[in-house]
């Protein structure tokens, strides 16, 4: 299975990563080698096999509907790169 540099660029856009032009061939090459590796999957007959998302087939536990958290905004915003008046800031978004 081979992918092109433009396929990789499209995936990078989805993942919000930029690949510099001078590295796109190398990234594409390594990407292709990983895809070749995972292509082994296609050899396995999986007809009728239920996909497995979690190892032990356990069920979700439920939490009581209680408020357990208090306002810790100042504490939680310590690591934030840009905050004003309690808001996180990002470059202006135009809808």
């Amino acid at each position: 299975m081979s992918v092109t540099a433009s396929d990789v660029a499209q995936v990078a856009l989805l993942a919000r990563l930029t690949i510099p032009d001078d590295r796109i061939d190398e990234v594409t090459d390594r990407f292709t080698r990983v895809l070749d590796l995972v292509a082994e999957l296609q050899q396995v007959d999986t007809d009728g096999v239920l996909p497995m998302s979690n190892p032990h087939d356990m069920e979700q536990r439920l939490r009581a509907d209680e408020v357990t958290e208090v306002n810790e905004r100042d504490h939680l915003q310590q690591p934030a790169p840009a905050v004003e008046d309690g808001y996180f800031l990002v470059p202006k978004v135009i809808d």
């Binding site: 856009l13 989805l14 919000r16 996909p51 998302s53 979690n54 356990m58 069920e59 979700q60 536990r61 439920l62 939490r63 009581a64 509907d65 209680e66 408020v67 357990t68 958290e69 306002n71 810790e72 905004r73 939680l76 915003q77 840009a82 004003e84 008046d85 309690g86 808001y87 996180f88 800031l89 990002v90 470059p91 202006k92 978004v93 135009i94 809808d95």
Partner: protein, 482 residues
């Protein structure tokens, strides 16, 4: 060419839990930015979701309320996209296996007739935060208080053909979820948000046209207007031989137009996959039966009961059950006075008009069910004419006291004493000899018209308190006499 409109609706309903769907932060509207966003809601490194049992219960209640199949093993999935109000870069939702599967919903139209909408599914998910665009120059502020609010997304089949149906559905949905107590359904505050998928096709055609999705319309009135304006836009394009672009559009209420939301279109490959931080929700029959046993009487059943128990019309019953407050008010009034039809008339007539005029909700009305029952009873027993009743209603509205107190204070008792009325009649006859002569000369048909004059004079003389039925009877006899 005539066009047929085809619509399906997606409603995002905020569930009225105390805490968020996956964290113990408070689920409340309108607080300072980010004070209700805990580390889980902020998607901080290492934080994990734990599911709120009440959100699950509310979803099941809704499913049972529309006779839907309940997904006994539903799973959460991650919907992946980048946006500043989506802290983890994915929304936890249910894509492959929803908790509520196909169901049907009987929607009363304004005339009282029912029409049936197929519900495709309803699933649990977390709400996103809010972006604030107008507060900072060149920056957008992000408030994540809303992030993690439990949502039930309710999706219909494309069963709507008119805006009126769409609004009727939303109103019926609103009444269902408030009966269930699972949401306040407040559209203005965003507790109930509606996306409209709309397309046109030539009348008689089976195939669907290309649709657009109108996002987040936040009132019943705007739903109606957004549908009208988008249908008109599509029709004009089609009639010009142009095609419709499948896209997401935003309704701008100020300009009454829809416009394309290009920012959402950059890359919409959501890459759904099962959320590995959560396990399947498994519901057994006993759980579902227990939830079902706890359900309150729902609008449909109540409407049917009102028709049968109180001999109401479809229209009156549909109106009265549209909110639980109204239905409860009605039943409390009827219990006290025993007059169902008259109570319905007062509620849907004078009371509704007064509330509307003062922009009040029924809960804030100055007239309680027992007050109204007092009035209805006095009209029923003949103490008040319907005209005097209106005066008592005014008194009740101004909180002058009970109906009987107002009758006494305002001296509004209807005069039904034959002796008193006969002397009034005698005075009127002797004061108006010409009219009496004219009456006596007229034929039977003309007499019926002419008698109105005498009734008017008598009512005037009695300050409106004469029993009109009795006056007519006695007057006819007196005029026919010698």
């Amino acid at each position: 060419m005539t066009w047929e409109m085809v619509m399906g609706l997606e409603v995002h309903l905020q569930l009225a839990t105390r805490s968020k769907i996956f964290s113990g932060a408070a689920n409340r509207f309108g607080a300072e930015p980010n004070v209700q966003a805990c580390a889980v809601d902020l998607g901080m490194p290492g934080m994990l979701p734990v599911l709120n049992e009440q959100a699950v219960r509310f979803a099941v209640m809704f499913g049972l309320g529309i006779d839907a199949r309940i997904g006994k093993r539903s799973i959460f999935d991650r919907k992946n996209y980048f946006y500043p109000d989506l802290p983890k870069g994915y929304q936890v939702s249910q894509f492959f296996e929803p908790i509520v599967c196909e169901g049907t919903f009987e929607v009363p139209m304004p005339d009282g007739d029912l029409f049936s909408i197929r519900i495709t599914r309803a699933h649990l998910e977390e709400d996103a935060g809010k972006s604030v665009h107008d507060r900072f120059p060149n920056q957008t502020g992000v408030d994540l208080n809303r992030a993690g609010t439990p949502l039930l997304e309710i999706v219909t089949e494309p069963d709507f053909r008119t805006a009126e149906q769409a609004v009727a559905y939303l109103k019926a949905l609103h009444s269902l979820v408030t009966y269930l107590g699972i949401s306040d359904g407040n559209m203005a505050e965003g507790s109930m948000r509606c996306d409209i998928n709309l397309s046109l096709r030539p009348a008689g055609s089976e195939a669907y046209g290309t649709r657009t999705e109108i996002k987040n319309v936040n009132s019943f009135r705007f739903v109606e207007k957004a549908i009208a304006v988008e249908a008109k836009r599509q029709q004009e394009l089609l009639e010009d031989g142009l095609s419709i672009v499948q896209e997401t559009r935003l309704y701008d209420a100020e300009r009454n137009e829809t416009r394309s939301m290009r920012s959402k279109e950059v890359a919409n490959d959501y890459r759904y996959f099962p959320e590995p931080d959560l396990l399947p929700i498994v519901l057994d029959d006993a759980y579902i039966a227990a939830v079902s046993a706890d359900l309150p009487e729902l609008p449909g059943a109540k409407r049917q009961r009102f028709i049968e128990q109180y001999q109401l019309s479809n229209y009156d019953a549909a109106q009265l059950v549209s909110s639980l407050a109204m239905a409860d008010y009605f039943e409390a009034t009827v219990t006290a006075c025993g007059e169902a039809k008259a109570t319905a008339n007062w509620m849907l007539g004078d009371l509704a008009a007064a509330l509307n005029r003062e922009n009040l909700s029924l809960e804030d009305a100055p007239i309680g069910p027992l007050d109204l029952a007092g009035l209805v009873a006095r009209v029923a027993d003949g103490t008040l004419s319907s005209k005097l009743g209106k005066q008592v209603f005014e008194g009740l509205w101004l909180r002058e006291g009970s109906a009987d107190e107002i009758i006494a204070q305002r001296g509004l008792k209807q005069v039904s004493d034959a002796g008193a009325l006969e002397s009034l009649i005698a005075t009127v006859i002797s004061n108006n000899p010409d009219q009496v002569a004219q009456y006596r000369a007229a034929d039977e048909v003309k007499q019926k018209k002419l008698i109105g004059f005498f009734v008017g004079q008598i009512m005037k003389a009695s300050k409106g308190q004469a029993n009109p039925k009795l006056v007519n009877e006695l007057l006819a006899r007196a005029l026919a006499g010698d």
